[in-house]
Every structure is written in structure tokens, then in C-alpha cells.
Symmetry: C2
Subunit: 457 residues, 2 copies
Amino acid sequence: MTVNTFAKACTDAPLLTQGLAEFVVSHPSQGWDADVDHAAHRTFINWLGCAIGASGHPTLAAALAAVADLEPSSQASVLGRMERVDIASAAFLNGISSHTFDFDDTHLKTIIHPAGPVASAILALAEKQRSSGRDLLDSLVLGVDVSCRIGNMIYPDHYDRGWHITGTTGMLGAAAGCARLLNLDVAHTVMALGIAASQPVGLREQFGTMTKPMHPGAAARAGLMSALLAAHGFTASPHAIEAPRGYAQTISTKVDWNEATDELGKRFEISFNTFKPFACGIVIHPSIDGCVRLRNAHGLQPDQIAKVDLKVHGLVLELTGKKTPRTGLEGKFSVYHSCAVGLMFGAAGESEYSDAMVKRPDVMALRDRIHAVVDNSIAESAADVLITCTDGRKLHVLVEHAIGSTENPMTDAQLDAKFNGLVEPVLGSTKAASLRDVCWNLSEQPNLVALFRAGCP
Amino acid sequence: MTVNTFAKACTDAPLLTQGLAEFVVSHPSQGWDADVDHAAHRTFINWLGCAIGASGHPTLAAALAAVADLEPSSQASVLGRMERVDIASAAFLNGISSHTFDFDDTHLKTIIHPAGPVASAILALAEKQRSSGRDLLDSLVLGVDVSCRIGNMIYPDHYDRGWHITGTTGMLGAAAGCARLLNLDVAHTVMALGIAASQPVGLREQFGTMTKPMHPGAAARAGLMSALLAAHGFTASPHAIEAPRGYAQTISTKVDWNEATDELGKRFEISFNTFKPFACGIVIHPSIDGCVRLRNAHGLQPDQIAKVDLKVHGLVLELTGKKTPRTGLEGKFSVYHSCAVGLMFGAAGESEYSDAMVKRPDVMALRDRIHAVVDNSIAESAADVLITCTDGRKLHVLVEHAIGSTENPMTDAQLDAKFNGLVEPVLGSTKAASLRDVCWNLSEQPNLVALFRAGCP
């Protein structure tokens, strides 16, 4: 990347479409530190677990039925399922399932969920063209870098305006990743990014409906198709991202070009990707984390717990103060249920938020021994947990940064446990274990045959 | 439609998604005046001619190659071609070809090209489910009404911001038309509109590239898929269009709700659709029209013309002042070439803008006898044409409103001639004639077999 690449175009905008294309095309394979590559492996395994975990959800069933109306070819896998579809539909469907549980990755600076659009698009393409695991990882790192940098550039105004930033930046990351995987040259990659720039997907108004997870799916599809169109000579503006009537200035009032260009090729946004340990709103993660920590440190059994006293930030009770949830979904809005399952199972994944789980007598009994009060000295990222045991012991922890935050990321072992919780109910423990092994060794896989063998029933 | 349907939702927004869905579902077949139905026939024949005319263009070839990468099923026709593809891809491809020549319809109040997204989506769906011509026309009128009303609501701020309004409203019209054709009930049609609302396509920066005509194609595809998803139970916000973080308020600073709701079911926007007689920028249409009028009135042959003096608006020479165009595309930016072919052939369609045509000695010779000056008394919609004949006669016309404007619409015979000029080079005159007959009698077609038999080679 030379300085000239970002010479001024119109007004103060750099030649961003061209510059990002040069970066995506020419950056060396694995041209980053080991911790970036490790973050890429973690991003991939977390995304894969989420996609497989939700593969039986009604959201995916409805989307699959619509795709089936097109009688698609059998080019690519729908993760966690027997059906095969064309690669664009696979990108669409896997993107949907990966975001259905709202349990996927978060780039905290922009609240983009970057893997959904990018990984869904490149994996479908990689399956068809028998790419190596290394090539897949390279395109994941570069694709995520493009969408998150674009996100940095327009966040928060763009998001505040009403756009669901995951799907309105993701088509650019997906196009970048697919262009890399297709070995497009710079000129064609410029076109791929340009074609994608016309297709942002997603409104925040859709939160709470199936259309929310459709956003990363449709962005994945749009990015993949943009790369295929470019490969066949389809044209777009070479300044589609930065021109006065291009993507950035049309879709956002704030555009900070430096956010897209600074330290390009040196700082990789995938390094800042975070993973949710618990399948609920982030506001109650510190409380759950405190319960799990005390449980594990003291080998606590539910019947040893006389009562639990939580001191929490005001938002916790405002958003998740439901004392007697009646469905699994309501359980996600109950700090009491969430802490109860944390104490009982050491986990609060999708299975701990089933309808059956919130009605289990032992869970309900433990839940009713949990009390929470708002304490103004407790930060939003913190929680104070005090457990009184039946033998009189008092166990205490103040969680300052919950597991899953930037300051306190999930360990690989914890990611494995999350993956197991999502994948084992769908594929069984043997396939889950084999898939986990493939993922952690993705960089060494000559092709993805083993991944797809393990990733579908 | 009751008044209550548009009861206030949030702030001052009416329940627009619900209201439009009720309208689309419940409005009677052919529930409008005969002139509205006539406008629908004209809209369809003009759209079909444009799509077939551009079916051999490199833009469509590149798009088709990308679609072929998906190995699509053979559900639906690509107009003017032998290939068959799935219905979503047919919507995409026919939408692209219909806008490739920039020769399609214009809803002047919003400069939306409404048929591209709507007709492309409904025709593909109609082919698969063997709909009648009547059902197709009903869904065309209603779909166009939805996208143009949404356009009225947000134009011009939305367009000024940089969006290509054809593709950013068209997915709603396409979803509405497809929902009608699928016989969805109100609840499912609300969802179809909601899903579509998340998928606006198109930036003005793409003008001059293949991505411009991709916008109506991608909007057609998005609208069709939204209706299919809704049919299978996929959900979206029931207030996706009007909510504070919904479509309208996210995508436009100006939102005039009344434009969407006033006289709904009484005034139909398709009535205001206009058609271009000449395959070039509208600014030189008055000059060409004047030349054609004098040619036809006096039976002029080129060798009878000594010289032509044009008085034109300043924009004409600023935008189309090219004296010696070297390619067909450059010919579109030459008032001289345009008037020469108008005088010689009585037409300025795509065939009059071929590379060969601008190099024809007789065309060049006539072109060089045409002179143009800016006259500040001439309006943008007007032109003053004075022809001096070799026998000394002076022939004059002042064109106030060119053919194709709202004040002076093309006649059906002129639309037929335009259609022939576009379709005959692709399908031959026999098929063109038979297709024309089908189109003018579309309302009586029990199915569309005859249309597709004539519409492909």
C-alpha cells in the first residue's frame, strides 16, 4: 500500500474503494501476528457453532422453504442440515442461522457482528471451489477488516439513523472476502466492492423479528454475488464507496475516512472481536459471570445455596427484572433465571433458555432464592454477588468486567464449551468434537471436506 | 380502506405498512378506470420491449454468467434469450436488461422507472404459477402504485441524498405485486412489505456503469424473495416502513406521509407513467421531435435538406454538444447526430445509436449541415427548428413539449414503433408482431404461454 493510493479524490475523500481493493488483493497470506490468526480461528469456531446451533430454528426453516421454491442446485451445505443449495443461497441461509440466537460475535466499537456476512459468504464459495483452510482464514481476516473499518468510519451516526450496521457494512466485507478467495485482481476487486456498495441491508426496526438475522444472510449473499458479477466483467463506479453520491456519504452523516485507512495492513479489526458467553443481553453477563465463578471456585451444588444477593446497575432490573419468566425467551429477560442456571449448570447457553428449563422445579426453586437490588456504585460492566450457603458460609465476588468483554475475553476452553452446547444437540458429541478439531486446525486443512463431513448430519 | 387503517402509530406516522398491505390485498381486480388499465398495458409493452432489446447487451451477458455460476433451475424465461433460470434470477436478469438502455418508463414526479422492479418480479412469478394476464396486470398496477407512492413520500430529499430511487422503492413495489399474485392475506402481505423494506438497492454514483441497471434487477429479486419468505411464515416488523427506525425515516430526511396515503385506491400512479421516444437524454428530445415532425409533415428526404438551424436551451449544448461523435454511445451526447437520424429515419432508437450508424457517410453528411445556438427564450422542454430546403423552402416548427412528455404522450402507434425497433433485431418481425398482439390483449390472456412463446427466440 503506497501513500498515493489514498490521494485525494473528490473533496476530502481518499480513493477508498481502490485502496481497500489493493489491500485485499495484495496483502500476504497470514500477513499478521499469530494473535490475529488465533482471533480468526476463534471467530470462525464461534460463528460455526451459532450457525449449527440455530439450524433447526423456525427462522431457518422458513427461509429454507422460500429458497426451496427456487429449486436450487446442490453446490453447498446448509450447516447443521441435510439440504444442499446453490452457493448464494448457502451464504444467505448460513448467515441467517448464525445470527438467529443473537449469540454470535461482536466488534464492540461498532456493534457489528462481523462473521455473519463474511464467513457465510466465503465458506459457501470455498466449498464449491475446494479452497484450503488457509485461504478461507485469509479471506475471513481481510473481509472482516473491510466491513469493520467501514463501520468505524460511519458509526455511530449511521447506526443512530436506524441502519442495522451488521448488514449495511457486511456486504462490503463479504465481497472483499469472496474477491480474495476468487483470486480477483485489483481492478475486478474494485468492481466487486463497487457493486456491493449499492446493496446495504438492514433496519433496526426489524429487531425482534426474523428479518433481523436475515440482514447478515442477505448481506452475505449480496457480497458473494457482487464478487461473482465482477469476476464476469460486470462494472460499477470505481469510487462507489467514497464519491459524493457514493455509499458512505449517502448512508451516513458522519464519515471519518481515517477510520477506514489508518494502520491498514497493520491493525486488524478481527483482533477486537468478542464472543458472548451467555445467550442473553450483555447487561446481565456480569451477574451470571459472578455466579459461575463462585460455583466453580467452591464446587457449589444448588442445595448448598441458601440465598444469593446481587448488587447491580440500574439497567439490569430495568431490562431484565422479570421474576417469574414463563418461556425460554422470557428467561433471557430475567436476571433471576439467568443466575439460577449459571449457578446450577455453570452455563447460560441456548439450552438453559428452553421453555422446559424455565419451568423446571429445581431451577425455579433456586431462582426464587436470588435477590437483586440496584446499587448506584456498580458500573454497567460490573456486578456484586454474595452467596449465603446453607452451612452459613458467605461467598463473595465483585465482577468488574464480565467474561466475554474486551478486558476479559472468553478462553479457548470456554469457547469450546459454548460450541459444544450449541452443536452437540444438533450433531451429537462425536461430530461436534471432530468439527472443533477441524476448526482449531483450520489453517492446516488442505481443503474443507472434513469440515463439511462433520458440519452436517 | 377505512380511515382507521391510517390511525396514528408513532409520532405522526400512519400505519403505512398495514394500510398498503390492505390496499394491495383487497383492491378489486381492474378496480380502476379504463385509462388506468390502458396505462398498465402501455407500461408493460414498453418495459418488455426494453428488456428484449437489451437482452444481447454485455451487461446482461455478464449478469447471466454470474447467475450461471449458481447452476439455477429452469423455472422461468430470460426475455429475448434461450436460457432459463429460477424465478428469482429471472426477476434479477429481466430487471437488469429492462433498464440497460435507459430507455424504460419514467414516473416524472419522482424520476422512478417503476416497471423495472415490479414487472420483472411479477412476470417471473406469473410464469411459474401460470397466472392469467389479468392477474399480472392487477399486480402491476398495484405494485407500481406502492413504489411510486413511497417515492412521492420521500422525493426529492431521498434522491438528493444519493439514492437511486428506482431500486430503493422498487423492492417494495415488487413485494406488493408478488404478494398480490401469490394471493397472500393481509397479515402475510404486511410481512412481505416489511421484509422488503430492509433491502433498498442503489446509489446514483453508479450512473454510467452496469450497476445502474442492476438496481431495478436486484430490487425485483428482493421483492419477489420477500413475498416468498412471507408466504412461508418469515416475519418482519409490521411497522417496517413507518416506524421511527423503519425504512422511511432511516432512508430520507423528508417524509410526507400524505403522499403515500392520499386518494389511495382512487388515484393510480401508473396513470402518470411516461415513455421515452428517443434512446438518449431527455434534454434533446424537443430538438429531435421537431426534426421528425417536419420530416413527416413534408415527406422530406435527406438530400432535400440544405441546412438545419436549431435554437435550444443552454443545457442542450452543455450536455449534448458533441459535433463529431465516434461511437454510438457518444452519439447519444450529440444533438447533431440525434437530429440527423431523426431527419433520416424518423426515429432515434437504439439502432440509430449503433457504432456503425455514427460512421455512416450519409448520416455524417447530414449531421454536418445541422447548426445549433443557445437561445435564452427557449425553455428546457422546448426547441425551435428551422429547415432550409435545397429548393429554397423554409420549414419551421416550435416544439413546446416534446413527444413523450406528460403534456404530449407517445401514441400507442408510436409505442408500437418503439417496440418494433427494440424487439425486431432480437426476435424478428413475426415474433415481435405476435408479442405486440399478446401485450395489447394482456387482460384477456388466460395464461402467459403465448407471451413466453413469442418473447424468447
